[in-house]
């Protein structure tokens, strides 16, 4: 990316004051990136940002509390940082935020689908519009618009909302509007039995690995999660799709109005279960009732973490 060197310089300057800076670097092949923990000057060279920088690194922040941490954020990731700040799960003075203008990231599941199977990637070259992959000697051309993560199509905040160092020129909101809930709205029109059947079928293959939970920057209970608690006993250990669904419902409820729709839960799922939709549903309700969007203003309090005697849009007195 154009301003990658600028970013490296910026990190180089800040590193002496920091314990670690988290960014991304290349992974096992050219088609994948991985989170990169920069502790020494020589780690900086490996840093790479671009359409493969899919991971939301804000997930690591609560676990590093007490340390001086630098973090590179996409626009959407910065919203998770804001939400964590709002909830006092991290301390602003300990965090140094590096922002850059994000032009979108890929959805590896879409790439997998487009190719049928991925195989031995020999090279991967990306431009603004496309990706050229050489796999087992064969060249594949994929349009970026076909392999982009869903969230990027309607991205409202491509530039980090909050940052201490911003490299490159801001893109601005462009013509993007509020979150796009079209797919969700279509789904909501189906009869209950069909919707329920859909989730039973999708969740049947859930292996209960809780990658969806652990990748979520705002799932902060971790080792005290309701999923694994024996007392109270919310979920059984039976191989029961209803228990699996129950966990997703718990996750969605706990994230209502806090979830920034970063999509990490769905990206992390090793068996590609579309769990993001459940969170979008909750967020859509929160948006309609409380006119609230998570992770935008560090001074705000999420609606379900606050209490008002009279809610503007909940008219219980008129019943």
């Amino acid at each position: 990316m154009k301003f990658q060197n600028e970013l490296k310089d910026s990190i180089r300057k800040a590193l002496p004051e920091l314990d670690v800076v988290i960014g991304w670097c290349g992974s096992f092949d050219r088609l994948h990136a991985t989170p990169h923990f920069i502790r020494r000057e020589e780690d900086i060279e490996k840093l790479e940002i671009g359409p493969l920088s899919v991971h939301n690194l804000a997930t690591y922040l609560p676990g590093l509390r007490g340390k001086k941490v630098g973090i590179v954020v996409k626009g959407c990731d910065s919203r998770s940082v804001i939400e964590l700040l709002q909830e006092k799960l991290i301390d602003r003075e300990d965090i140094t935020i590096f922002g850059f203008p994000c032009t979108g990231v890929v959805d590896q599941a879409k790439i997998k689908k487009a190719l049928g199977y991925v195989g031995n990637v020999e090279s991967c070259d990306m431009s603004d519009k496309s990706m050229v992959l050489v796999i087992d000697g064969q060249t594949h051309l994929l349009n970026f618009s076909e392999i982009k993560a869903e969230k990027c199509y309607s991205c409202k905040y491509p530039d980090a909302i909050i940052s201490d160092h911003f490299v490159g020129d801001k893109i601005g909101n462009g013509d993007s509007t509020d979150a796009n809930y079209e797919a969700l709205e279509t789904f909501e029109k189906l009869p209950v039995s069909e919707r329920f059947g859909y989730w039973l079928k999708e969740l049947d293959r859930c292996i209960r690995c809780y990658a969806c939970r652990n990748a979520c920057p705002l799932c902060v209970c971790r080792d005290h999660c309701a999923a694994e608690s024996r007392e109270p006993h919310w979920l059984s250990q039976e191989n029961n799709v209803r228990d699996k669904l129950m966990f997703q419902v718990i996750h969605a409820y706990h994230l209502a109005g806090r979830c920034t729709e970063c999509g990490e839960c769905q990206r992390a799922c090793p068996v590609d279960i579309p769990v993001l939709m459940l969170k979008q549903k909750m967020n859509k309700e929160v948006r309609d009732i409380f006119k609230y969007e998570a992770g935008v203003d560090p001074e705000e309090t999420p609606p379900l973490l606050s209490f008002k005697m009279e809610e503007e849009n909940i008219t219980e007195k008129d019943w």
Binding site: V20, R205, P270
Partner: protein, 353 residues
């Protein structure tokens, strides 16, 4: 000479349907965007292009199984006594798993040493293992994450299988590996395969050559012990780990389990379900103490177990079959190969004085 047959691709479903008359048959198919093993359904396409997202581990070692069902009741003779009526749930019937990969199926041989050893036999595991046959698909193409060749195996390794199926032309060359395998190759849909053996060998050779260069892991057990006490090393390699269960639950050789009693009123079941060493609750003791309190300790266990402690107990056999799922499916891109190689290169810093 072992029995060799040939099956046209167009006859695959009919053949599996024949086998399904007397056995439960599992085959890989798409569910959503993932490929998993599911009971054979002639209405659905079987996916055999490359390894499934999840291995067939659950066919012998289910994600969750009821070991014993029990009921509480009062003793009518003495109402102060509670009676327990327990019923063991031993698995029944025979199964055939079609389409596992050599790494997947070889994985069960790592289970065998633990669950069917001379000292102890797990009757649930053994019953399924004895009653399950494997028709394994040799890989004709490989992925960047595959490294079966580093762990003394190959894309056509028949270890643990009953039949090895090699994609040849527009069909499968079926080689019996065991006596049980021979008995699976009696269908009229199969023709003689002798004439295609050469072609099959070529496919296997090409797949083997497409893998990355073999790395010498012979001193990994020793080196991993040397690096055991270096918490910095483990903190460094585990920094990006999210402590989920994706790597272990998708691993064909991870065999840890948990036992819980699920009680509903006077009825209860004793359940065995998968557990994993990456979870924060793994080895959490009732006192609240956890000997593996951080993800660094836990990742050390996963890598150390497979590449050091298990080989030390089991004739040097590495209990990783090189399938690469833990790398490919890790949401944070943790690469077990990289960690093992780093451990091999590890030089302890000598503290002066």
């Amino acid at each position: 000479m072992a029995l060799v047959k040939y099956l046209k691709s167009s006859d695959l479903k009919s053949w599996l349907a024949e086998l399904a008359q007397k056995n439960s048959v599992f085959a890989p198919r798409y569910e959503g965007d993932s490929v998993i093993f599911a009971p054979f359904d002639p209405e659905q396409e079987i996916f055999i292009k490359n390894a499934a997202t999840a291995p067939p581990k659950k066919t012998v070692f289910p994600q969750s199984e009821k070991l014993v069902d029990f009921k509480y009741s009062k003793d009518p003779e003495d109402l102060s006594r509670i009676l327990i009526d327990a019923k063991e749930n031993l698995p029944e019937g025979t199964a055939i798993v079609f389409g596992g990969r050599p790494c997947d199926v070889r994985g069960f041989t790592m289970f065998d040493r633990v669950y069917m050893s001379e000292e102890a036999t797990d009757i649930y595991y053994k019953t399924r293992r004895d009653n399950t046959s494997f028709i394994t698909l040799a890989c004709d193409s490989t992925e960047n994450t595959c490294f079966c060749n580093w762990v003394n195996s190959s894309p056509s390794d028949p270890t643990g299988s009953d039949v090895l199926a090699i994609p040849v032309g527009d069909g499968l060359l079926l080689k019996a590996v065991s006596d049980r395998g021979e008995s699976l190759l009696t269908s009229k849909l199969l023709s003689d395969g002798e004439s295609r053996i050469g072609e099959g060998e070529k496919v296997c050779k090409e797949a083997a050559e497409s893998l990355s260069q073999v790395q010498d892991l012979s001193n990994a057990p020793q080196k991993l012990l040397e690096v055991f006490d270096s918490i910095e090393f483990w903190e460094d390699v585990s920094a990006k780990c999210l402590s989920c269960g994706a790597c272990t639950y998708l691993c064909p050789t991870c065999y840890c389990f948990n036992i819980t009693d699920e009680t509903k009123g006077l009825q209860a079941s004793r359940i065995r379900s998968w557990d994993n060493c990456m979870s924060a609750l793994f080895t959490m003791e009732a006192s609240g103490h956890n000997p593996r309190p951080t993800k660094a300790h836990r990742l050390k266990n996963r890598v150390g177990h497979k590449f050091s402690y298990y080989p030390d107990l089991h004739d040097g056999v590495i209990s990783c079959c090189g399938c690469g799922r833990c790398i490919k499916s890790c949401p944070a891109g943790v690469d077990i190969r990289e960690i093992v190689l780093k451990a091999i290169e590890f030089e302890p810093t000598v503290v002066e004085g």
